[in-house]
Structure formats: structure tokens, C-alpha cells
Symmetry: C2
Subunit: 462 residues, 2 copies
Amino acid sequence: MTTDARLADLVADLPEGVVVTGPAEIEKYREDFARDGSAGAPIAVVRAETAEQVQRAVRWAAAHGVPVVPRGAGTGLSGGSSAVDGGITISLDRMRAIEIDPASQVAIVEPGALNAEVKRAAAEHGLWYPPDPSSYEICSIGGNLATNAGGLCCVKYGVTTDYVLGMDVVLADGTLVRLGGKQIKDVAGFALLKLFVGSEGTLGIITRTTLRLIPAQRAGATLVSSFPDMTAASRAVVAIRATVRASMLELMDNTSINAVEDWRSHGLDRSTGALLIAQSDAPGASCAAEVDVMRACCEAAGAVEIFTTTDAEESAMFIAGRRNAFHALEQRGSVLFEDVGVPVPLLPDLIDGVAAIAARSGVEIAVVAHAGDGNTHPIIVHDAADPDSVARAHQAFDEVMALAIGLGGTITGEHGVGRAKRSALPDQLGADVIALSWRIKDALDPDGLLNPGAVLQPRPGT
Amino acid sequence: MTTDARLADLVADLPEGVVVTGPAEIEKYREDFARDGSAGAPIAVVRAETAEQVQRAVRWAAAHGVPVVPRGAGTGLSGGSSAVDGGITISLDRMRAIEIDPASQVAIVEPGALNAEVKRAAAEHGLWYPPDPSSYEICSIGGNLATNAGGLCCVKYGVTTDYVLGMDVVLADGTLVRLGGKQIKDVAGFALLKLFVGSEGTLGIITRTTLRLIPAQRAGATLVSSFPDMTAASRAVVAIRATVRASMLELMDNTSINAVEDWRSHGLDRSTGALLIAQSDAPGASCAAEVDVMRACCEAAGAVEIFTTTDAEESAMFIAGRRNAFHALEQRGSVLFEDVGVPVPLLPDLIDGVAAIAARSGVEIAVVAHAGDGNTHPIIVHDAADPDSVARAHQAFDEVMALAIGLGGTITGEHGVGRAKRSALPDQLGADVIALSWRIKDALDPDGLLNPGAVLQPRPGT
């Protein structure tokens, strides 16, 4: 059967408009925000409206041996939803229903719903869905589950997997399985639900999830402290984390600050070497007490200036600056996004090591960080039109990952491996864990059709 | 090769005293606390001192097709570490090293270390390992990981899996893999670590784990409220949980109270229909505010008497009463331990349903509950010497699980499936999820030698 004839079967099997085959339309679904050059030429995009349509598309793909790339909002930063040659992309962007069950304190959410939409729906019932990637206004819950996304408040409130109670997953053969539910604790059988979280669409396609909600976060206080450099700031982070449970502990370096200010003024001081943005949401007088501890830690680490506020708008301005760093840095050139993490006490070593790599490679590396978790985002800015700049940027990209691995850390704390980092994964995990991962992959996707090339490098000969 | 000859190889391969073959010694490792009659006759117990010895034993077992049952402290309540006929039990009770890294806020722990030992070691550094099964003084960390154990404080602080950052696992072929580490966030590759947690020794044997610690818990306040019956008390729980994040929300029914008082006086009122024990560890004035909310919820639900205290010793007495319920009920006869959970708002339905089953079956069912998580422990007391009583007890046991499943809940919230509940697992998960579970099991343990018969029912013909 020709590609066209096979595709005609798929088009006929699904409602009008679900299967998109026009080149201009397909192009919109080809890359994610990593723009890492890994995207191939897909034959169609399936804009599914229901889980049943996802099943039909997957069954069709299984029957014809066609690769399937699941895709949420396309805001991923590691090429995890890059389209593949001759494959189909199943976009979940039309499946965005959100139902809140306030009595059970859960949200039942389709994967295309945006993180911010879930937060808003929960807030209407005085409830809160904590995980908050910087991109929360534009990223989808499905993508959050695919990468086990983190964010700013995870330093106190944990990451996506900590909030997933249930899910529906379409497996590689089109079977839909239902895992977990509204119960808080459940150890009946293997932790399959946890296995699908963070599997980046390589083991199944999540078509619905039940998320745990908690009572709304209390208003808190924000401390903003400037430091002469990132090393001093990261020492303050280590000291703070050893003493209080901050609800936010973020860092920006001088390059990030200036990029943000260039893009849009957030009132940040361009001369600052490093900026720490910390919050406490402890109740009552404890909040001020925690802020006092943070202040003392900052002073001991060599803070230049410390500002505190309980005004929500004022603190939102600083946090927006931090959240906008990725976007602002993209205005300066092409970027490679790192997501390396280390045990928290080694944060200063990681920061120093990244600076050394930047100096050695002659590329600009800006750093923002979910510092309280030891998770940093070195962002490598380069000139895509200059092959030498590109080569040096990729060299630096690999060296930063090797640095993190050498410090006992990880190549990715929250963005996922995708295609951009898969070559470094064996260095972190070792051959035995890679072999174990393939056993899982082969068991769940024996024909290797689900998001091939993401997470695990294709095996020789395939 | 005869069994004796094979065993001689194993004995020769390990240091003196590691392989135990005397019948009286073996007997001590045959059953867990479920005493569910599932234990077979093993040929030896390997009391491993190192991960390398575990690897040797597993390699020997793989070479000879001998089943392997891993075992911690043997305090499991579902027959998960019952010995199997012709197999070996690998006991981890000698591997109990604990190392605290206060800067990284982690504990590196061997599986035989008791939960309480980890808590104490952490406390020496002002740190806290939250998960606290009722049996925390006698249960091992390895067993906690095997079942993803919960406890009293998980209503606010989560369960075991939420604290596992790293582990060493010996796979079915004897390979040791190292997963995770001291980094807080890590999404590099599949969530294999989470898959091993709760797998009850059927996928691998955990020989070391890195556990996340948090700053020590604040001293709090305790509220103890009596109710005419469990239904009223469970309504109070639902109301409290909708409003505040209590750090403990436990229930005891009249039967449990009297069993505890019969065994040893804890100062509980024997006439009480149901007792709610709640705690707040919110800081400062918020603690009193949370207790006020709890009090109002109890009053609205029909509380008979409400007592509050900030005295640690006074509250410890009530909590000890709750923790000792299992042991006290065992003094009244043979017991079957349930561990069913439902979405929290359905707690009153579960409570009522259990009472109806008790009435219908003519067996005594005491109920204690981690009520704030919707997780209850109906404990079926019967006379093991009376076949009719035994039959009615088992009938009730199955009916309680069916009740929980019917309410959209789970047959086990924290004890694991083991062998005692495996026949009900397909009713909860459905055939497709069972098939998916077998794919994982077959991928990791192709010869089916790791804890065979636990979690998943043996397939026909095996």
C-alpha cells in the first residue's frame, strides 16, 4: 500500500479535520521550542478530539508500522516532540477538558489543557495545583506529565509526579488502560502510573489524568538579594535550604538580568552580579521569621543589597523577570537549553564549572536556576549562522552535561532527555541501566513506534 | 544436581554463617506478620551482609532456577515475604548501615535498617524522615520501599516513594544497577526508581537507598474527639481535610479502643463509639487556628467530647493507642488485616459498608484508619480453630475488598498486595492492566524467580 493509500484509511477512519496533511499546517507541529534540528518530515498530524480517536490513530500506526510522536503544546525544550520522518504526530491540543472535584480535591484533566488553566480552575474552588514550570501559561499538562515537569515552587511542593493520582494511557497497540483514580494512597500492583510520568511519550500516550490538589497557597513574603557573583549567591542558597523550607529559591545571573531588561523592563539592576529571589509562604509570624533567616544567610554569603516585600504585585515583577529569562535570551541569538542538576551543596561547583566552560569555549552561557533544588538552566547563546559558533556551543552543551554527571548529578532535572540530550544519557545512567530501560521499552512498545529516538538513542541497525 | 549438591555450592560461595539451612532457623524466616498460610518450605535462608553477597545468591538462584524471596524485618501484613517451596529467602536484616549527609539532606540506608533507626539518625542532625508506619519501631526501610509504606503523617507529608531519591537494585540475573542519587530533581531516563518502589521484591532486590530528609517537624497540637459512631467521625474527617492540611488524621472504632485498653491501658474511654486523633504542626498561631477549625468540624459532625493538648507526652499516649491497635487486636484471636482505601469523601460509605459486612458475616471487624487519606484498616478477628469462623472471616475479607473497589478505591493503600490480596487485584485493575503488569514482570524477571506468587497470581500452567 502506498503512503497515500494508507493515509486515506486514516483520514477516512476519523472525523473531518482531525487528520491534517497540508504541508503548511504540518510545519506548525514539526518542532518544539528546542528547535534542535532533530525534527523530520511527518506525513500527517492527528489533532485528536477524544481518547478514542487517539486509539484509532495508534491502531492504524501499529497496523502499518508508522512511528507516532505525541505532542502537547509544543513548548518542550529538548526535542521530545520533534516530528519524525514518515511518522504521524498526534497532537493533544484539542483535548483540554478540566473537571474539578472539590470534595475529593482532584482535577480530572485532558492532556491538552494548559497548566495555567488547571491552576485557574482549581483556584475557583479555593484549591491549588502546585507544579509551575516557568512556561506555565503556555505549556500543557500532558507535556508536564511527559517530562515530569518541575517549576519554581517544587523546592517546597514537589514535582508533577507527586500530584498524579490517576491516568488513562493509550498503549502502543491502541489499548486504553486506566491507572489509579481519586484515592490518595494506592499500592495495588506495580507503580505503572509513575513509570508513564516522565517517559516522554515513548511508552504510551496519556489521554486523561487525575491530579491531586491542595488547599490554596497562602500569601507570603518575597526576599530579593543581589550578590557580586553567582558563586556567592549559590552559597546563600545552600545555607538557606539547610535551615528553612522556602517556597521559592531562584537565581538569575548578570547575563540573564540584562537580557530580561533588554527585552522588557522589569526594574532589575543591570549591574547586579547575581540575583536571588526567595519566598516564604509560612503562615503568620513564621513567614517573617523565615525571611529573617534567609536575610541572615544572604548577608553571611556576601549579599550586596537585600529587599523584602509582602506586596504581591511587587514580588510578581521580580518573578516575571525570572520566568521570562528563556524568552528574553532567545532575543540575543540562537540558544541551547541546559537543565542540569546536582546535589544542592555542589551548586557552587556547578556554577563555577559552567563559567569555566563558557570562558574556555568562548560562548556566552547565561544561568538561571531553580537553585533550591540544585537544578540549573545554563543557556548557551550562539550565532546559528556561524558554524564555528555553533560548534563551540554544542561542545559547551556536552561539557556542561559531563560536568553535572561528574558532580554526581543529572543532565536533566525537569525538561526531559528528548532528542537533544539522549547522547549523554548513557554517560549518566551506565550501560546496565540503559539495557534495563530498553527491556521496559521493548516490553511496552515492541515495534518501537512510540516517539522513536526520544530518550533512548536508536540501537545500531535500527 | 541434587538440591543438597546445589546448596553446597551456595554455602561454599558465601562466608560462613550467611547461608542458614537448619529447620528451626529457617522457620523464623518463613512467614511475615500476615500469617496467611501462604508460606512454603524454603531450602535455605541467606542472611546477606553485603550487596555483593545478594548478587552471588541471586546468580546462584538464576543458574539453578531456584525462586528467591527477599525479606526485610518480616513485619509485612500481606504475605509479601512468605517463603516459597524449594526457594531461598534472602534476608536483608544484617544490612543496616545508615549514613546521614546533612549538607545534602539525605540518608543513605541499607534495607535492613529499621524505619525508627533512620528517623533517629536523621534527628541527630536536626533532620526528619517523615514516613511513619504504625510499625516504625520494628519495620525495615527495605520493607517500606517494597510496599511504598505510608503511615500517620503521610496525610500531610506523603508516602515512601516521595522520599526515595536513589537506590541500588540487584536484578533477576544478579546485575546490580544504581538508580538516581542525591540530586532532588532528576528526569534522565525512565522512572525506574519509582517502579521498584512498591514492587514487593518481584522485580529486583533493593540493597541500598538514598532517602530525602527534611527539616525536623515542629512540635504541634493534638485534638482528640469522641463521636457516637465511626460514620459521624468520618464525616468530621472529610470536613477537616477540605479546609486544613492536618499533619495527622486518625480514627479508631469502639472495638479497637477496647482491644487496646484490654491489652494495656492508654487512658482511652471504653464507651466511646469512635475516636478521632488529629494533629496540626503548623507554626506559631496558625497551629491554634488549625485546631480551632478541626474543633468546629468535629462539633458540626456531632462530637461528644473534644480534648486538645500541646503536651507532647499527653498526645503520645493517644497516638500509641492508635499505633498499638494491630497488636492489641491480635490478642483477641486470629486476625485478617485489610488496608482498603477510597476517595476521601466516600470514607463514610466505606465505614458503613464494612459495618454491614460484619453484621452479615457474623464476624467482628475492628476499624482503625489513616482517615485523612481515605485509607482504612478493617481488622477481621476470628477463631482459627473454628472452620466456620475462618470461612466467614475470609468471606468478609473478600467482601471488604470488593466494597472498596466498588467505591472506586483500592484493595491496598500501603501494605501491598503480597499473597493475601492477589486474587482481588484483577478485580481492581482489570485484565488489560494485569497484562501490562505481566509485560513488566516478564521483561525484568523472565524466569519468574523473584518472589513468585506475590502481587500477581501465578499464570495457569506455571
